[in-house]
């Protein structure tokens, strides 16, 4: 699975209220509609500036706060291909795997807004085309890779009827 796109960079501790505000998440289950408000409190122009396949890049503790699965779903429906951060909050991390949004843990100090990245999840390589640097990625544990590679937890349960992670 190879992904390419441009970087939209954010700081540390981006919480799920910033990803999708509570005032929107209760209004609808239409994720294309929710996606229009993704990251709005940090950057009102974010949604209109995203091209299909772009990356959200951030510092530490991305996705802290509430357990709302609308957060990864709104990101997916804004056509972001993956989130890249120094570290992720635990519930958000699970929610990404379960909904099929790839996440990448690495040192993001060497990535800037507007950089063009090439990511190969299978081989664990992140290449910054703009700076020419290759950045090592922390690999996902096998349990999560299995769920992600099957397209998320819904597809896993459709296929197996229960957990089948051994």
């Amino acid at each position: 699975m190879s992904l390419t796109g441009k970087v939209h960079k954010f700081g540390d501790d981006v919480n799920t209220d910033y990803i999708i505000s509570g005032r929107y998440k209760f209004k609808t289950l239409d994720m294309r509609e929710l996606a229009k408000h993704v990251m709005e409190d940090l950057d009102p122009e974010f949604y209109s500036n995203v091209n299909e396949g772009d990356f959200i890049v951030a510092g530490k503790n991305f996705g802290c706060g509430s357990s709302r699965e609308q957060a990864p779903l709104a990101i997916i429906n804004a056509d972001i291909s993956a989130v890249i951060a120094k570290s992720f909050a635990r519930i958000f991390y699970r929610n990404c795997i379960n909904t099929g949004l790839p996440l990448i843990e690495c040192d993001t100090d060497l990535i800037d807004s507007g950089d063009e990245l090439e990511v190969n999840l299978k081989d664990g390589i992140l290449y910054n085309r703009t700076s020419g640097l290759e950045i090592p990625i922390t690999p996902l544990p096998p349990v999560m890779l299995k769920i992600l590679s099957e397209g998320g937890l819904v597809e896993h349960f459709k296929k197996h009827g229960t957990f089948n992670l051994d």
Partner: protein
Amino acid sequence: MGKTIAEKILSAKSKRDVKANDIVIADLDFTMGQDGTSGLAIRAFEEMNAARVFDPARVAMVIDHSAPSPLEGVSALHQQMRTFAGNQGINFYDIGDGVCHQLVPEQGHVVPGDLVIGADSHTCTYGAINVFSTGVGSTDLAAGIISGKLWFKVPETIKFVLNGSLPRGVYSKDLILYLIGDITADGATYMAAEYTGQAIADLSVEARFTISNMAIEMGAKCGLMEADDKTIAWVKEHSKKEFEPVQADADAVYAQVLEYDVSNLEPQVAQPHTVDNVAPISAIAGTPIQQGFIGTCTNGRIEDLRIGAEILKGKKIARNTRLIVAPSSRQVMLQALKEGLIEIFVESGAAVVTPGCGPCVGTHNGVPSDGENVISTANRNFKGRMGNNKAFVYLGSPAVVAASVLTGKLTDPREFIK
């Protein structure tokens, strides 16, 4: 080698001898969703081609975040939950019953030693009664209510040893805010927290819930306490279930052990826009306040209402200041009515609203205006949290909120406590 509480509970529930960083599939004792997360869980349940939940008695859905419904879209979500709950025969709590994290222990659904998931990040609250409970997303909840199981990474544990006794006018909220300020919003990410020591032993079970509730605000997966006599008495009063408390071994291995002496702690306030931006009240007293809020799964219990009412009794809140009070459950509201607390709030000038989450999550019941400052007993103060990203939310104890709405500015509650 000894085990932590988290390692022991996950060993028992996975029927394996596990230690930190192992990955297990474990049996769930209870599962819960609220109105912000259940809609997606029901959708995932249907997409997974499931027909029945694994055990209706072990599943609850609660309408609390946006209750009563302020919008058509929310009404549709609520209706979907009512239909699902009716068809499946699960535990169901409708508008006005209360906040999920008050109801789950209050109604006796969970007991010491249990493994519990909830599609709400503050599910860690029940750690105060020795329950390994943790927040998950909607798809995890769907998998949990279908199979009765979920996969977990066994967390490492940070142990907080809290020595000394809290001074007068200083509460468990001040203590947990201080700890979060000290170790920061990601200081315990992926880990379990264990809270122990004289300061915890001194607290009532209700006050302990406030501490475990906010474990997630330091990134923790759960906020565990051992069960002492107070815990056992409280649980027996609320639940008929049999239980076996789980204590940590003396030689358990911890990622970190942090010791604090709380004897000189002063009231603490989290400043906008992060929970770990904590200052003692003396450093920020005098900041103007337009709205106060007493309630939530953090501080909406009967003891919290008593603390607020004692300060407000016979007084009026300041001009151009508002106070909203949301009891955390119907039972709490009834008890507050019996004790005359609701009368005190209403006479002081407060608006008392439906038991539930109130304005905490910004959907209704008191969205602040641009540039306004709010002092709240909730657990989050993120930008936009209360529905307006141009407002500023401060977090404190019920005493800080009550004192601050009397003066119209952030105020040390000890000025009002005899």
